[in-house]
């Protein structure tokens, strides 16, 4: 378990951003907004600053690119002290995404994305290539969107352009201030997943501010839970924070249902899938009955030539639909998830679906297996045992430090 000093124990070991005794005291305020914060942010990870309103998390983040100037302490970026460096030069090396995104409304999408490359003095050809590359990265067709204006885009598209713009100068570090905060829940979920997929490719060092612990758990490689004055209550991996909260403040902040939240940490691909009887679309009814009889499930899944799920059928369906093709009887498949979905997604889907199961398909839509309530139970049990074991080991190691506190 790491602790209140905010030192990181990451795998690669390289620290990208180091905040040393960072503080911000506004004039005429009794208490500092950020009080002597020391934090190491490892290279290539998403570090989430999370905490209640007014805890100083946004102020902390904005001091890294010096939108807010610190009143004490030092900022070390990639081994270089940037506390007194030229802020404009510094900011061109740091991607910046804010909640309201702040696209320039009088510039096209291409011009918005080109802002930092132009400041960096890239030549026109390189900038054009970069714009197209980035638009593709955020799944927006360049030829369609390059010359549009921000007001012609939906909220989700604007957010994507915001991310593309922040990535344009290929910065090693990105700062994101509640980037998905102003987006409806469904789009937010999709954008979060897209962003994680993107991060797996680009491996930026990301400081991400949110007040939503669920978002923190989902997005973070590491979470810093902050109290008033940006004091670190706990700085650790999501698993450890959920399993072994450092104190009552952290436990309170996580709230009830830590076990359910842990479902956000496991992916469908990591769990044992159940197998249900399957039949081909062209099969005749006797084959289906045979398949149903040799299983205890009661329903068979009808797949087409590409092994995509088409229909659920049961024995009564076969009787009622005597002589009809398999895709004319039974019920359409619902609750289809991909392997990278979290168990929480799968659980949400299967609760509302027929037969209380979620069908797992790969990226091409081909059937992989089934998640049912038993697989989720099993996953929770395993996680709990693992996490307890890890926490015990961690506590043993940290024991002297705990006494010292």
């Amino acid at each position: 378990m790491t602790n209140a000093t905010g030192t990181a124990q990451n795998a690669s070991g390289r620290t990208m951003i180091k905040l040393e005794g960072l503080g911000k005291q506004y004039p005429k305020e009794p208490k500092p907004a950020v009080d002597n914060l020391t934090l190491e942010i490892p290279e290539g990870e998403i570090v989430i600053l999370v905490g209640p309103s007014g805890c100083g998390k946004t102020t902390t983040m904005k001091m890294i690119n010096r939108i807010i100037e610190p009143t004490s302490g030092r900022i070390i970026l990639d081994g270089e002290d940037v506390t007194k460096a030229d802020p404009d030069q510094l900011r061109r090396k740091i991607g910046y995404v804010i909640q309201q995104i702040g696209l320039f409304p009088h510039m096209t999408i291409a011009e918005n994305i080109a802002t930092v490359p132009k400041l960096l003095g890239w030549d026109g050809k390189r900038i054009d290539a970069r714009i197209d590359e980035l638009l593709q990265t955020v799944s927006m067709a360049p030829e369609t969107y390059r010359n549009r204006y921000p007001k012609q885009l939906s909220g989700g598209q604007r957010q994507r352009v915001g991310v593309a713009r922040a990535l344009s100068g290929d910065p090693a570090v990105m700062l994101m201030d509640e980037p998905f905060g102003a987006i409806d829940p469904i789009t937010r979920d999709r954008l979060q997943n897209e962003f994680l997929r993107l991060q797996a490719q680009v491996r930026k060092t990301i400081v991400f501010v949110t007040h939503d612990i669920d978002e923190a758990i989902k997005m973070g490689d590491r979470i810093a839970i902050l109290q008033e004055g940006s004091r670190i209550a706990q700085y650790d991996t999501p698993e450890q924070i959920l399993t072994a909260p450092a104190d009552d403040f952290v436990a309170d902040f996580i709230g009830r249902g830590a076990s359910l939240k842990r479902l956000n940490l496991s992916r469908v691909r990591d769990t044992q899938l159940s197998q249900w009887p399957t039949v081909q679309l062209g099969d005749d009814h006797s084959t289906v009955l045979e398949a149903l009889r040799s299983s205890d499930k009661g329903f068979a899944l009808v797949l087409d030539e590409q092994r995509r799920p088409r229909r659920w059928v049961s024995a009564p369906d076969l009787q009622r639909g005597e002589g009809r093709a398999l895709d004319q009887i039974g019920l359409p498949p619902e609750a289809i998830v991909e392997p990278q979905a979290t168990l929480n997604d799968a659980l949400n889907e299967l609760i509302t679906a027929n037969y209380s199961v979620a069908i797992v398909v790969n990226a091409e839509g081909a059937y992989q297996g089934i998640v049912d309530i038993d697989s989720i139970n099993e996953a929770i049990r395993t996680m709990r045992t693992d996490a307890r074991a890890r926490a015990r080991v961690g506590l043993d190691v940290d024991e002297p430090e705990q006494v010292g506190r």
Binding site: N65, G102, P105, H106, T115, V116, L119, K151
Partner: protein
């Protein structure tokens, strides 16, 4: 017909600036609405020409109402309005930028009060003051008076235009490493252009109206014809002066409206 034109022309001088204070934002115009105003103004001018042709003009009227004199008056009037508006922009836009920077907060109020006084004092009073107290007459004096009168709408609109730019857009710009000056010239000012232009249009209309008074300090313009008509008690001359001033004001307002449409940044 002619009588009503004369009547509607004269009050226009007084009401035009006041009406222009609240510029109406026109949404996308159709071709028809683009053509309406020039057609209307052309008809008014044709009507005026036929009316004058139908009158027996005496020598006093002939001296005022010949092509070269009327043309010269119109040209003087356009010059008065254009030059004064040019200086208004030159003074008010930079001043507006200056007064919206954070470090000028302490004396912002004082300068705005001065600009307010400029607008509150009647133009004719300013002209009289220049003429009587300083013997300052002619074109330069008229320009100074007109500028003092029309600075406020442009200054105010520049400030409002800059202040209404979304704080988050500016933060995004600064956060990307655009310099303060770059943010001003590439983000703030372009985004403020529609509102600044509305102010410029207001100033232009004020100046077209107020330039009529410049004739009293010997600075020329259409006011010269109007005043000649009043002092010699010739109704035809009065009508020509009034109608031409109104037509010119409406025409310039129409052109300024087109300029607004063209210069507004795309994407807004």
């Amino acid at each position: 017909m002619t009588q009503t034109e004369g009547e509607s022309g004269a009050p226009d001088l007084a009401t035009a600036p006041a009406a222009a204070m609240a510029p109406v934002r026109r949404e996308r115009r159709t071709l028809g609405s683009y053509l309406f105003m020039p057609t209307f103004l052309a008809l008014v001018l044709i009507g005026l020409y036929l009316y004058v042709q139908s009158q027996e003009l005496d020598s006093i009227e002939q001296r005022s109402l010949n092509a070269s004199n009327v043309g010269k008056a119109i040209w003087e009037h356009v010059q008065l309005a254009a030059v004064s508006t040019f200086f208004v922009i030159l003074i008010a836009v930079p001043l507006g930028v200056f007064l919206t920077r954070p470090f000028t907060r302490s004396f912002r109020g004082v300068l705005l009060t001065i600009a307010n006084i400029g607008q509150a004092v009647p133009t004719i009073g300013v002209f009289a003051l220049f003429a009587v107290a300083f013997l300052f007459l002619g074109f330069p004096a008229a320009i100074v008076g007109l500028v003092a009168y029309a600075v406020l709408p442009v200054l105010r609109n520049t400030m409002v235009g800059l202040e209404q730019v979304d704080e988050n857009i500016l933060e995004a710009g600064r956060g990307m490493g655009i310099s303060k000056f770059g943010v001003l010239t590439r983000i703030e000012l372009p985004l403020a252009v529609p509102i600044i232009l509305a102010g410029v249009r207001t100033a232009l209309i004020i100046n077209v109206g107020a330039a009529t008074l410049a004739a009293y300090i010997n600075a020329g313009g259409l006011g010269r014809i109007l005043i000649a008509g009043l002092s010699t008690n010739r109704l035809t001359v009065q009508i020509v002066g009034a109608v031409l001033t109104a037509v010119l004001a409406l025409l310039i307002d129409y052109l300024a409206g087109i300029a607004e449409d063209v210069l507004r940044p795309k994407g807004l």
